[in-house]
């Protein structure tokens, strides 16, 4: 067995111990606890107010547009980071390329601005 795999043997041991411990604790408590089912116990919250309505709740659609804008600009950073770490290596060529890239991104921002997306109404 390689050293690499032997390192994982510890994980296996831990997993086994965790499994045994958990099943022991749960098993013992299952044996010794009293069992008296009632309808109230099946409500999601045993105390306080009863839950009403659906699990899904709506939020303002405006958040969605901002979230979307954020995601798009945030993800484009994936191209900017590798370039930024090697700024000097890529020289003028890289700079021009990144200029074009950022220009296209800015065009998107101008679009969002003219369409009034950036205003919170």
């Amino acid at each position: 067995m390689s050293d690499f795999l032997r390192d994982y043997l510890n994980v296996v041991w831990f997993a086994a111990i965790a499994l045994v411990l958990a099943s022991l604790l749960l098993g013992i408590s299952a044996i010794i606890r009293p069992n008296k089912p009632s309808a109230e116990k099946n409500i999601a919250y045993e105390s306080g107010v009863n839950p009403v309505g659906d699990g899904w709740s709506q939020s303002q659609v405006r958040y969605y547009i901002f979230a979307l804008l954020f995601v798009v600009f945030d993800v484009e950073a994936v191209f900017i980071f590798p370039w930024a770490t090697r700024l000097e290596t890529y020289g003028t060529f890289g700079l021009v390329e990144m200029g074009i890239f950022v220009f296209v991104l800015l065009l998107g921002l101008v679009y969002a601005w003219r369409k009034g997306v950036l205003r919170w109404v």
């Binding site: 290596t89 020289g91 060529f93 296209v104 065009l107």
Partner: protein, 504 residues
């Protein structure tokens, strides 16, 4: 640290893409800064941009050498090239894009939909297709495919308040994205096997021998499945009829012609460059797909009551003939005739189908309906449109003096050239289907020529707007010319001779 040397860019070869990209920015800005009642100008600009991008394609065809590396430099040579194959297809995509702009202008303006965004998305999609024709690398194939698909998802749902259009967009989107995800998984395996994303390197490594055969088979199958969704091959066609029916009709024309052609181009690039040695996997697979696509598409088309839906199924079955030619690539030296057959088929099919949709749009302006029954007695009040529609339907059916005949002839010749059990059987299946297909095209013709006008229909002469007349003229002339003088397109076919086309 690895030394970096900037790649050399061949700007002449890149010019069509550059013109389109600049045009997209221009249309976007014009849309933003022009008052609403003058927005129609975005359509005009888009048309000009598409024709402008065609110029460098022509100069490249006349002046350029056989193969030009668009980007050359350390490790990136041969990944994005311009050759005769790419030029022919770029011209096809740009021209079909132009015809779609002509079809859209009235439809989008009268419907009160967003105009500027529509044309920006249309141009972006065409840019993706133009890139697809030049891609010789997994990354650029993938980026081109997404670039042409993502705008199309939005265009399919363009009628915002229309439930059918929403449904069309969502179905197209979910299946398209799922298919490209599956295809990507296949591509990641291809990269793992070959150690490069360059297709010509992958082509040498996928040999179906040695310990990795299992993974190679999975990779090839996943990639073909991904593209099969795009070209709506049965059994991956389920989105097509619904999307075609629900989407605005010009978008349907665009999807069924340009988007489909781009899917076939991608599939072709993969089969010819990346899988030439994997014939034992792709040939049976594509054979079954082709047979199913032709047969199922035709049988379902027979019972359609809606003309757009019928054309959708007809376009599914037309795709089967292209798959037939592709399945027979690399069988008994038939690669050249099948390559030529596919390109010729794509060009003729584009002209014919766009024409048929132009007539549907022109008639729907009057009748507000695409039901076949609403075409009753069309000849009485729109004789010109009736004649044009008959021409396009006859061409789709493959009746001799028209373009469709030459296209089908090429596909059959590729299958027969390949010969053997695979080639002859698929040719027989295809011939049977060509006969069945004639039935539903003739149903529509009979409706137009012989049936009475439906009760209460307005029978004053139909006014066809100038842009639709232009679209009908272009497509009609092309359909006629390709059939009567196939010499012109045969020349296009030989331009794309295989050696220069791919292994530059």
């Amino acid at each position: 640290m690895i030394a970096f040397s900037a790649p050399i860019v061949d700007y002449h070869a890149l010019a069509p893409e550059l013109v389109l990209a600049a045009g997209i920015c221009l249309v976007l800005l014009v849309d933003l800064f022009v008052p609403a009642h003058r927005r129609w100008i975005t359509g005009t600009i888009s048309g000009l941009v598409l024709l402008g991008a065609l110029l460098p394609v022509v100069t490249l065809a006349v002046l350029g050498g056989d193969v030009r590396d668009v980007l050359s430099g350390d490790g990136i040579s041969g990944r994005y090239v311009v050759d005769n194959f790419a030029l022919v297809l770029k011209a096809l995509f740009l021209l079909s894009g132009y015809v779609v702009v002509l079809l859209s202008t009235n439809e989008i303006e009268d419907g009160g939909y967003y105009q500027g965004e529509y044309y920006v998305l249309l141009l972006s999609s065409v840019l993706g297709m133009v890139m697809m024709a030049s891609s010789r690398d997994l990354v650029s194939v993938f980026v081109a495919l997404e670039f042409l698909s993502i705008p199309a998802y939005m265009m399919a749902a363009w009628k915002k308040r229309d439930r059918k259009s929403n449904e069309a967009g969502v179905k197209y989107y979910l299946l398209g994205v799922f298919a490209s995800a599956v295809m990507l998984y296949g591509m990641s395996l291809l990269y793992g096997i070959a150690g490069s994303t360059k297709l010509s390197v992958i082509g040498e490594k996928i040999t179906l021998s040695g310990p990795r055969t299992g993974i190679e088979v999975i990779a090839v199958v996943f990639v073909i499945v991904g593209f099969s969704f795009k070209v709506s091959a049965v059994p991956f066609h389920t989105w097509a009829p619904d999307t075609y029916e629900g989407a605005p009709t010009p978008v349907t024309a665009f999807l069924s012609v340009a988007s489909k052609a781009a899917g076939f181009v991608g599939l072709m690039i993969m089969v010819y460059l990346a899988f030439p040695l994997a014939r034992d996997v792709y040939r049976p697979f594509l054979w079954v797909l082709a047979a199913l696509t032709m047969t199922v598409g035709n049988l379902v088309a027979l019972k359609q009551k809606n003309l757009v839906r019928m054309l959708a199924y007809s376009s599914v079955s037309q795709g089967g003939f292209i798959l037939m030619a592709l399945a027979m690539a690399f069988t008994n030296g038939s690669e050249e005739s099948s390559l030529r057959a596919i390109i010729v088929y794509l060009i003729i099919y584009a002209a014919t189908n766009l024409g048929a949709f132009a007539v549907v749009i022109a008639v729907a302006r009057r009748t507000k309906s695409a039901e076949i029954s609403s075409y009753g007695g069309l000849f009485n009040y729109a004789p010109g449109l009736t004649v044009m529609m008959t021409l396009f339907l006859a061409s789709l059916a493959g009746i001799p003096p028209l373009g469709g005949w030459y296209a089908k002839f090429g596909a059959f010749r590729a299958a027969v050239d390949a010969g053997g059990g695979w080639g002859y059987t698929i040719a027989i299946v295809g011939a049977a289907n060509a006969v069945v297909a004639t039935a539903y095209y003739i149903t529509v013709m009979r409706e137009m020529w012989m049936k009475p006008v439906p009760e209460g229909a307005d029978t004053s002469a139909v006014k066809v707007p100038a842009s639709l007349v232009a679209a009908l003229t272009i497509t009609g002339l092309a359909t006629l010319a390709f059939g009567v003088v196939p010499g012109i397109i045969a020349k296009v076919g030989s331009l794309t001779d295989l050696t220069g086309a791919f292994h530059g």
